[in-house]
């Protein structure tokens, strides 16, 4: 326990977390500090490209593990399954309508790639290796949850419908394409390719991540400030309980399929994190009646900071304990 706390403490005073906190505080205090949309999007493209490429290069270096397919399969199962658990939990903890609950559930089945990146960074800091292909698992987990949510809504007889073209849109979503694409490039060009562009995608990576988290803090803080009162206590409780539930399930599946300690942590993080980019856009198309203030505030304002600060060190502690690391 005390070790978890010291890990969490060390995590809390990293430049990455403090940058997020700075953004959060600035937005709460209504500073006009802001990062242009184009720059924020540029940084997200950089991060996706770098994380995908490095994952692919690592697979090229270590060879494809027999568990690759199992891990991707586990991710897809998680993404399909977690929304049902989230939905049930929401019905118990909150008074959200079926529609809103389904929309929130979709977010928690999907993933937050920045949480994943932050976790990778923590693992690196502690010299814990992880399977490079976990990036592919992340990509595979982005979309399935949306289908589960639509099914939940359809079952309850409300308006949700599968818009024509929506499935293609979700699967060819920019972040999935970039993540998978750069993963493949990294795999094909291998260590040599990585060496060529490492001064761009490896060395400055953490610094860019700081600025990106500054931006996420600004956006999250603005959201929290504007949606004060939107979330009841039950909803906030869900925003913290759900990642814990997800991470435990991720832990079990990761151990079952034989991932390394690092891989298990990443699967836990994927299960525990909630989408705030791809899924919200899909929800605006498919479930426009659902209230975006609820799912955005929960995902970006509650669960994201929880995972970033306490969740990740906790998941690391759990995984190393269970794998006897």
């Amino acid at each position: 326990m005390s070790e978890i706390l010291s890990l969490a403490g060390a995590n809390l005073i990293s430049p990455i977390i403090l940058s997020f906190a700075l953004g959060l505080a600035a937005a709460m205090a209504r500073s006009d500090l802001s990062i242009p949309e184009a720059v924020a999007k540029g940084m997200s493209i950089y991060l996706l490209f770098a994380i995908g490429f490095k994952g692919g290069a690592s697979v090229a270096a270590h060879g494809i593990d027999a568990t690759l397919l199992l891990a991707v399969g586990a991710g897809i199962v998680l993404s399909f399954g977690l929304p049902f658990i989230a939905f049930a939990l929401l019905r118990v903890l909150t008074g959200l309508s079926g529609l809103d609950a389904a929309a929130v559930a979709a977010h928690y089945g999907s993933i937050s790639i920045v949480t994943f990146v932050a976790a990778t960074s923590v693992l690196e800091g502690r010299a814990i290796d992880a399977e490079g292909y976990m990036v592919a698992v992340a990509a595979a987990m982005e979309a399935p949850a949306i289908l589960s949510a639509l099914w939940l809504v359809a079952r309850s007889g409300t308006a949700g419908r599968m818009e024509p073209g929506l499935m293609r849109e979700i699967l060819l979503n920019g972040s999935i394409v970039l993540l998978v694409g750069s993963f493949v490039i990294g795999m094909v060009t291998g260590e040599a390719g990585l060496a060529e562009i490492a001064p761009f995608i490896v060395s400055p990576f953490k610094g860019v991540l700081c600025l990106f988290l500054l931006d996420m803090g600004l956006v999250a803080g603005r959201g929290l400030r504007q949606s004060r009162g939107v979330l009841g206590l039950g909803a906030v409780a869900f925003g913290i309980a759900m990642p814990l539930v997800g991470s435990v399930i991720g832990l079990g599946m990761g151990m079952a399929i034989g991932l390394s300690a690092g891989g298990i942590v990443l699967l836990m993080v994927l299960a525990a994190s909630a989408s705030y980019i791809a899924v919200p856009a899909a929800m605006r198309v498919a479930l426009p009646e659902a209230n975006p203030a609820i799912y955005l505030t929960l995902s970006l304002g509650v669960t994201f900071p929880f995972n970033l600060t306490l969740g990740i060190p906790l998941y690391v502690a759990m995984a190393t304990m269970m794998t006897g690391g």
Partner: protein
């Protein structure tokens, strides 16, 4: 200058619906429109801004000049897309140069 009657339609719609509106307009035979970015705004769902955002959030504005007799077809097409979504549709009388373009 030779001016001709036209209607100017302005549609503010959520960004994730942009492609669908474009498709609906072209299916309805609308020959031209321009899309202008919207930086932020306010409505019943409160104020918002695009600063720092990275996804397909926010809104865009379609501006469309058409011959008056084609207004109804356009509005029907637009309404089918906007109906269940947030968004604002307005129409103004206008005069245009070079009517052959509309």
């Amino acid at each position: 200058m030779d001016m001709h009657q036209a209607k100017r339609i302005e549609i503010v719609i959520e960004k994730p619906m942009e492609g669908r509106l474009a498709k609906a307009l072209s299916s309805a035979g609308v020959t031209g429109y321009s899309v202008v970015p919207v930086r932020g705004g306010s409505g019943r769902s409160g104020p918002w801004t695009r600063e720092g955002e990275i996804g397909r959030s926010g809104m865009v504005m379609f501006i469309c000049l058409i011959r008056p007799d084609r207004l109804d077809a356009l509005l029907e097409a637009a309404f089918a897309v906007v109906e269940r979504h947030i968004g604002v549709v307005s129409v103004t009388d206008a005069m245009v140069l070079r009517a052959e373009r509309f």
